[in-house]
Symmetry: C2
Subunit: 163 residues, 2 copies
């Protein structure tokens, strides 16, 4: 019977209320969801700091980048591409429009919709922010080799893009 390595072992033979020295997370670490969430939070934390100078949250960055690469994209299309709900996009777009980064133009062939476009200032901000984001990717190479990073992204895509 192994002796317990506690600061003050119980003096009697009664059952003892246990306490924990080192936390055992080994079971949770076998689960994909646990690891994916922890990793996502970790990466997003770094991303948040890097985007602070541009005053962009991850979702703002995603919106601006999609508008940059898809000029004329509609709110609805943005929502379905990013998994956000229409009511929650309105405020973001209002803020980005107030900062004169995006503008809402009438859609050429659908009177209900608005096409989204970057202003010149928006174009420049996105260029700079995307440059910073891509440098951040390279910086991950301190932990992961380029090959590992490529593999990781490929496997992540397999998870959320069932093809």
């Amino acid at each position: 019977m192994p002796r317990l390595r506690l600061p003050r072992p119980p003096a009697n033979g009664a059952r003892e209320v246990p306490s924990v020295e080192t936390i055992d997370s080994s079971y949770l670490e076998t689960l994909l969801g646990y690891n994916a969430r922890r990793a996502a939070l970790s990466v997003i934390e770094v991303f948040l700091e890097a985007m602070a100078p541009y005053k962009l949250r991850p979702v703002d960055f995603s919106v601006l980048s999609l508008v940059a690469h898809n000029p004329g994209i509609t709110s609805r299309q943005l929502c379905s591409a990013l998994g956000i709900l229409p009511p929650n996009l309105v405020g973001m777009l209002n803020a980005l429009e107030k900062r004169e980064l995006v503008s809402r133009l009438p859609h050429p062939r659908d009177g209900r919709a608005m096409g989204l476009h970057l202003t010149p200032g928006g174009e420049k901000l996105v260029r700079d922010a995307e440059k910073t984001a891509s440098e951040l990717e390279a910086g991950v190479a301190g932990r992961l080799s380029p090959a590992e990073l490529k593999t990781l992204i490929k496997l992540l895509k397999k998870i959320y893009q069932p093809d």
Copy 2:
């Protein structure tokens, strides 16, 4: 991703306000953070459904599982292991205690702390829930081979566990 077919754009050479047919997300898909978040959300969505019969959210599952594998663990230790803040754990523990899944016992060697333990009902629930969770892992094998899953988890750990 819905692919809405809009009326054909006018074929003139004049300056035209563009619209978007197919959304180009290729730049965002080069970023680790974007892929990690999408994958985490996708996995957690499935996990949520699987845990619904047990009335456990992912965080409840994590808490119960850690208590199961670390009987006597304190609130503070749970918080640091799971990255949650003490004030936000209180309500969860109250709810789990009310459901008679966990009990707070006085800590054997620290009068300020409470040691957390599972009730017999909690033990059974965790056993069943962990079984379901592990079966879910195997189910991912429909998209990923066991080797790919192992690689993915290894790389995710490298991201959030800098060693």
